[in-house]
Amino acid sequence: MPESCEASVTLAGDLHARPAGALAVAAAKFSSSVELVVGASRADAKSVLAVMGLGASSGQQVTVRAAGPDAREAVDRLIGILAEATKVGG
């Protein structure tokens, strides 16, 4: 039974290329679809170029939405990466 799940985090630093890469690598390992929402922009979390194209910066709220069998794990994992990886920038 597919489930959907979402959670948000406020970025402590800009979402640079390296954290974007870490996010996309992590997201691609889940079978659920995963997207990031920042303001009016959305990106497929499995596409590093789309994630970088969000231009998400320090202080912005990022919502992670996932739908599929491992949606909850995907959201937990990506929120963790967003919280950790933007602490020192990249």
Partner: protein
């Protein structure tokens, strides 16, 4: 997915510096776990391409899961095609990406790092044609 060998990446450029710099960037973004081999410039260090360099890079990049090659422009494509048409004993699964060089390299390397197969890595590179950066 991640316990298998990863797809390797070959960057073919007229410029050794361009190929190496792109490999450095893509490697860092993808966490440094993918083999990226470069074939930049001619054997004597000029701007151009070398079929022997591409062949060496292809063999270096192959870890058993196949290789995706990204050529930069024009005769890089011709050099890659000539190699694939003529050489013996190449890795089993080799694909050439029709993609922008930097964006394609980054997208391909990230997808390889996530355990994607040759088809997934190739399509990640080629989807980079549509990625907007602004």
């Amino acid at each position: 997915m991640s316990d298998r060998a990863m797809v390797g990446i070959v960057l073919v450029s007229h410029s050794a510096a361009l190929a190496e710099g792109t490999a450095e960037l893509a490697g860092q973004i993808a966490g440094g776990i993918v083999t990226i081999a470069t074939a930049g410039g001619t054997e004597d260090g000029r701007i151009g391409t070398s079929i022997d360099k591409v062949e060496r890079a292809l063999r270096l990049a192959d870890g058993g899961a196949g290789v995706v090659i990204l050529p930069d422009l024009g005769s890089s494509v011709l050099t890659v095609r000539a190699l694939l048409a003529d050489a013996d004993d190449l890795p089993d699964q080799v694909a050439v990406a029709d993609a922008p060089f930097v964006e394609g390299a980054v997208a391909a390397t990230v997808t390889a790092a996530a355990g994607g197969d040759v088809k997934a890595v190739l399509s990640a590179a080629e989807e980079a044609r549509h990625a907007r950066k602004l």
